[in-house]
Amino acid sequence: MIILIARRLILSLVTLFIISLIVYVGVEALPGDSATGYLGQWATPESLAALREEFGLNDPIHVRYINWLGDILRGDLGVSMVKRKPVAELIGNRFRNTVVLTITSALVGIPLAIILGVIAGLMRDKLPDVIISTTSIVAMTLPGFVTATVLIYIFAIRLEWFPAITLVPSDVSVIELLDTMLLPIITLTMIMVAHILRLVRTNMIDVMVSDYVQMARLKGVPARQIVFKHALPNAMLPTINIVALTLAWLVGGVAIIETVFNFPGIGKLLIDAITDRDFALVQGIAMILSGIYIALNLTADLLSLVLNPKLRTARGH
């Protein structure tokens, strides 16, 4: 098991390394450079040259890459040339905010999705299942920004229950933040629940017809015990990785929700950075988001390792 964990860790590190390569080269390969981006139409050849010198843009790309990677390893995400500020400072609390947003949504969404998925799976093709499945498919088909707008219209403007958008500085306390982000949480939760629920439902259906559930029935195990003791843990195992992927996807695609709700998060910053050609910032955020993705995946792997006796007790690889 230790070997297994070590292997996963090493693989994750390798992947992170490759990501850094792709992100750096991919972003640097874009036409135009940060210097012109920064100086805009007021660029003069001299000022451009000076800026290039200052930020070492004249070095060959592999030298720059190695410097950048070295900095990253030391925890330094570099300096945004466009905004003349360290990337870490620009990201600041926004990273935390995005994490708070997604984690709260996950804390609400995942249990909800599991409960609904189990109900739908157990009552397959009966009324509750039809209702749950239809609702989830509709929730899945609406673009996030439409869901968001409709929710704002209903809950903020008509019912006046929640604030419409997030109007707090990026460095407020988590408590204050939570207060203003109910609608973004609901939106994200809705999308997430729809995806995970469908998955849980399918797995539940599969597990309920499995031989061991049949065996449990024939053993005289009461229905509730069959569901919770025999079926659910096994239905959840294949779901763990997908849940992680869904979460990671949410973090990556959360930009649009953040824009609609004016939420001071990392996704919105990313979109701004791309349009500003703020290469250092794009690279920094991309690395962070990819890191989250990898971390989530790793967590899911380790979690299934812990929960799945087949993996846990496997010797070697």
Binding site: G37, Y38, G40, Q41, W42, V82, K83, T149, I152, Y153, A156, I157, E160, P163, A164, I165, L167, V168, P169, S170, T259, V260, F261, N262, P264, K268, L269, D272, I274, T275, D276, R277, D278
Partner: protein, 512 residues
């Protein structure tokens, strides 16, 4: 309702010494309202310069909303007329020729750090306006040859040529007075003499300003101002409607029904001289071709644009962004929509078989999407194919504007002199259409120096006609401003907020 200035702005002969009395002194006697009764004023702004914003008033990327609260200028426009009225300068006069202008400063003005404002600070500021990197008003202040400071409260401007309307130039909303030596710290500290002091600057988030209770014009009517950056216009409207911000000026006519059942909001429709338009670069192909430019002018139906894009809330313009009612403004349009004439011009320009052009736009001004689509439709009738290229709003100014041959633009209202000099004088840093016509520049110079109002008007109008006929900018209308504001706000002026007296706006603490 706000009204266009009735009087010509600079009708008085400049030779006459213009002495303006000090503001009434009652203001100072008024009891300072206890702090807790004043509320927090919240309003929004949209991203314009892609995170490059700073607090240098003359920087191309200046972050305007706080700057207008942090710094004062020598003269401000009167509330409802565009006439210069005293601010930091309590009076001014010129010599007979209009080449030397003497401004007398107030002696009770203190910067936020407690030091008193003196003529040295003004001299420093003028130097900054003229020489700061990429200063946007260096052009209009180009007429200033030198500045003398005979005493602490007197500033003398020596001009290179007579400028009859010099106070209008001084009134420029960006000509803010800085404390001597405060640049470049000022870009972040915002340390000025204005009615509000900077608490936190967070361009992409919330910028907080607190009342400067020692303000020379009396303590402000609100305790704190919070400026929210809300990039998504829609989000801003939703926030307004939900009462999260106190007022928004970013509404369009279509939003008005949303507030039908909101008793705590008042909707004002304020005529302005703000405008959106289409800019053709006159210096590079294809629009260095005059016939082609004229063809483009000929396909436009201005009234239709106004009706479609703004539901008629505005006023037709003839390619001029001068505040309506300005005495120098030419009154009528010379172009009517005429597809045949346009086709003929196209043929003359060598595009008999049709013409295709990319129009660069972004989500910067709320009417651009509509304008571009309408223009696309109108132009199609004359065989002009317009491809709309949407770029990101943050990158627009850096990557499309003044780079691509055909882009959208939008400006706030300006006086005749400002408009013509700032946007069309050759070499001007914001000469977006790259209008470079020596006769035009000569007309502007002549107008500035001309003592006689009628003659001056003639010069100005000749220049305007030139722009209208041959220029690279199509300006279909002045947009009316739709403002939703909470009814509990007081003293909200019925004019564009660029010229508002922010320290007079009130909001009681119990207004939420």
């Amino acid at each position: 309702k706000g009204a266009a200035p009735e009087e010509p702005v600079a009708e008085e002969p400049p030779a006459e010494v213009e002495v303006v009395e000090e503001p009434p002194t009652e203001e100072e006697v008024v009891e300072e309202p206890p702090a807790e009764t004043r509320g927090v004023l919240r309003y929004n702004t949209g991203i314009v310069y892609g995170g490059l914003e700073n607090l240098n008033p003359v920087d191309p990327n200046r972050f305007w909303p706080p700057i207008s609260l942090l710094f004062d200028r020598l003269a401000t426009p009167a509330d409802d007329e565009m006439r210069p009225t005293p601010s930091l300068a309590k009076s001014w006069e010129s010599n007979a020729t209009g080449e030397v202008w003497t401004f007398t400063l107030r002696d009770d003005v203190y910067f936020h750090d407690g030091t008193q404002l003196t003529s040295a600070d003004v001299a420093y500021s003028v130097d900054h306006w003229l020489n700061a990197e990429a200063s946007v008003i260096a052009g209009s202040f180009g007429v200033v040859e030198s500045v003398d400071t005979p005493d602490d409260f007197t500033v003398v401007f020596n001009l290179t040529q007579p400028v009859v309307d010099f106070p209008l130039i001084v009134m420029d909303y960006r000509a803010r007075v800085l404390k001597k030596g405060s640049f470049p710290d000022i870009m972040e500290t915002g340390m000025g003499s204005g009615p509000f002091k900077l608490e936190t600057l967070d361009v992409g988030g919330v910028t907080v300003l607190v009342a400067n209770d020692d303000y020379w014009d009396g303590p402000p009517g609100v305790a704190v101002i919070e400026v929210f950056m809300i990039a998504d216009n829609e989000a801003a409207i939703q926030a307004t409607r939900a009462g999260q911000i106190d007022f928004s000026i970013d509404l369009i006519a279509d939003h008005i029904p949303m507030f039908d059942d909101a008793d705590d909001f008042v909707i004002d429709i304020i005529p302005t001289g703000n405008w959106s338009g289409f800019v053709m670069r006159t210096d590079i192909p294809p629009f260095d071709n005059l016939d082609l430019r004229q063809a483009m002018h000929l396909v436009v139906d201005r009234q239709e644009m106004l009706d479609l894009a703004l539901a008629g809330l505005g006023e037709v313009s003839c390619d001029l962004g001068i505040t309506p009612g300005d005495p120098y403004l030419i009154p009528e349009c010379l172009y009517e929509q005429d597809f045949e004439a346009a086709a003929a011009k196209l043929a003359d320009a060598g595009y008999a078989d049709g013409f295709e052009i990319d129009l660069y736009t972004a989500d910067v001004c709320s009417d651009w999407t509509a304008l571009t689509e309408i223009f696309q439709q109108q132009a199609a009738n004359a065989g002009i194919e317009v491809n709309i290229v949407n770029v990101s709003s943050d990158g627009f100014w850096a990557e499309a504007w003044m780079i691509q041959p055909f882009v959208m633009t939008c400006w706030n209202e300006r006086t005749t002199d400002q408009f013509l000099n700032e946007i069309y004088r050759s070499g001007g840093s914001w000469n977006e259409s790259f209008w470079n016509v020596p006769e035009f520049d000569a007309l502007l110079d002549a107008a500035r120096a001309e003592m006689d109002f009628e003659k001056r008007k003639e010069h100005y109008q000749a220049a305007q006609t030139m722009l209208h006929m041959d220029g690279g900018t199509i300006i279909p209308y002045y947009s009316g401003m739709v403002r939703a504001a909470k009814t509990c706000l007081g003293e909200l002026p019925q004019i564009g907020l660029f010229f508002a007296d922010w320290n007079h706006i009130t909001k009681p603490a119990d207004c939420e």
